[in-house]
């Protein structure tokens, strides 16, 4: 196996990128944050739609996502950018992130006197932070330091027959070596309760998982079904899934869960964007299947790398965590080659074994951890979306 290198943070966690993150406390200063980070090597800005006019569980979820994004080990330093009147308090958020030992700063546009003054002040801080981080040297770290998010999007028949099982073997390998993997997309485990609960490390974990699935089933039944070519299709699978050959949510789920591996125990269930615990094994994060929101949640819950399988092809990326795109469909591997990192179509087309594709995938995963850019990183994708519970005020 190749040697793995990472950045060890003051709290002991290991990251595989070394970002200076520019985080708006509220959507109103998204543009300021983007201009602060622009063209500064090692700096990246998040663009989001929250920070104010939310209440209750919805607000807490947004706040948790912003906080845990700042805490992700791929981030070395953070600048919080506030407007000054928003509900999210950039000072508080900065303090909570700084408790991890990271360098954190904050600036407030209404205090500094508008866009240009804020950008100028912000660029000074971020340039300094990035220069400091650039002096860090990645150190050799064990495989157990990986937190691997697994996700599928734009699935078709090939996802369940090849790319998901290959990713599952990699997830099992990481968990078996003392690392952690995170499975999510509650919609896409509907119908697999029998299989997943048997893998849960305790009855309490199994009960929590079943409860979250039940909630998603009820929600997906609460609206009328869509029609595709005259046939009413289930709400919980997409039109592309149906065109790609997936018939029911049970079929999609049975294929989808294989990316969470086969034998490693499920050691915990967390809420959307809630930090997973230290226990090695497979974690489950309750989330929608919607790709940008799911990958954002996976990153915020602590994933430092994501393997993302796609049958039809999708370009999605993330500002903090590298998203490695895998397809098992040869047509997609060719047509969507701009966006695909790993092609495992030899499984279906040439009879290559899942095991040998998994060994090659682990090598690529380590290459990306060690700094090789993913396609979505190279193309500049910075997708960040927080799922919503309630209406905006």
């Amino acid at each position: 196996m190749k040697t793995l290198y990472g950045y060890r943070r003051p709290d002991g966690k290991v990251g595989f990128r070394n970002w200076t993150l520019v985080m708006p406390a509220v959507a109103c200063v998204n543009h300021i944050a983007a201009l602060i980070a622009k063209d500064i090597p090692g700096a990246v800005a998040v663009h989001h739609e929250v920070g104010c006019a939310q209440i209750g569980a919805d607000y807490r979820q947004s706040l948790r996502t912003l906080l845990n994004t700042g805490l992700n080990p791929n981030v070395g330093a953070v600048l919080l950018v506030g407007l000054g009147c928003e509900r999210v308090d950039p000072r508080e958020l900065a303090e909570e992130i700084a408790a991890s030992g990271k360098k954190v700063g904050f600036i407030v546009a209404q205090e500094l006197g508008g866009t240009n003054a804020t950008i100028e002040a912000g660029r000074k801080i971020v340039t300094d932070m990035s220069e400091q981080l650039a002096k860090m040297h990645p150190e050799e770290v064990p495989l157990s330091s990986i937190v691997l998010g697994v996700e599928c999007g734009a699935s078709d028949f090939s996802s369940s027959l090849s790319s998901n099982p290959v990713v599952g073997y990699v997830a099992d390998t990481i968990c078996a070596n003392g690392g952690r993997a995170v499975l999510s997309e509650t919609t896409e485990v509907i119908g697999t309760e029998e299989i997943l609960t048997k893998r849960c490390a305790s009855p309490e974990i199994a009960a929590k998982l079943v409860d979250r699935i039940k909630r998603m089933v009820e929600y997906s039944r609460s609206e009328d079904r869509d029609e595709i070519e005259g046939v009413a299709v289930p709400n919980n699978i997409s039109p592309g899934n149906v065109r790609g050959g997936l018939t029911t949510i049970e079929e999609k789920s049975l294929g989808a869960i294989s990316k969470g591996g086969y034998f490693c125990p499920i050691v915990g269930v967390v809420e959307y964007a809630e930090l997973i615990g230290d226990r090695p094994g497979l974690w489950f994060m309750d989330s929608p299947g919607y790709d940008p929101e799911c990958t954002t949640g996976l990153m915020a819950c602590g994933s430092t790398l994501v393997l993302f399988t796609t049958g039809l092809g999708t370009p999605l990326g993330n500002p903090v965590t590298p998203i490695i795109k895998v397809t098992g469909n040869r047509v997609t591997a060719i047509r969507m080659r701009d966006d695909i990192d790993i092609d495992v179509s030899a499984v279906l087309e040439d009879g290559v074994s899942l095991e040998s594709e998994a060994a090659a995938m682990l090598d690529t995963l380590i290459d990306v951890a060690n700094g090789k850019q993913t396609r979505s990183e190279a193309l500049g994708y910075r997708d960040f979306g927080i799922t919503r519970i309630g209406p905006r005020l």
Binding site: S160, G191, V217, G245, I249, E250
Partner: protein
Amino acid sequence: MKRGLIMNKLDNVATVLDDVAAEETVTIRGLPSIVEISTLEEIPRGHKIALVDIPVGMDVVKYGFAIGYALTDIPKGSYVHVHNVGSKRTEE
């Protein structure tokens, strides 16, 4: 040769890996012996074919698990998809 793949020996459907027309032979691998099935109708690449007659109401099985149930009698060699399969987890 038109190819198909079965995922589990309990399955009554397989995935076709090539576009197939009606009355074509699909060679299905994934079982100890290779099975050949003649199609009754056109089936797009990546979609499913019935390996046996599936009576109305019976489970449609893939990966060894029910992925839904037959909404109509589905004869061997038929195209199996949303027009003739219902989901127990989408309906009441």
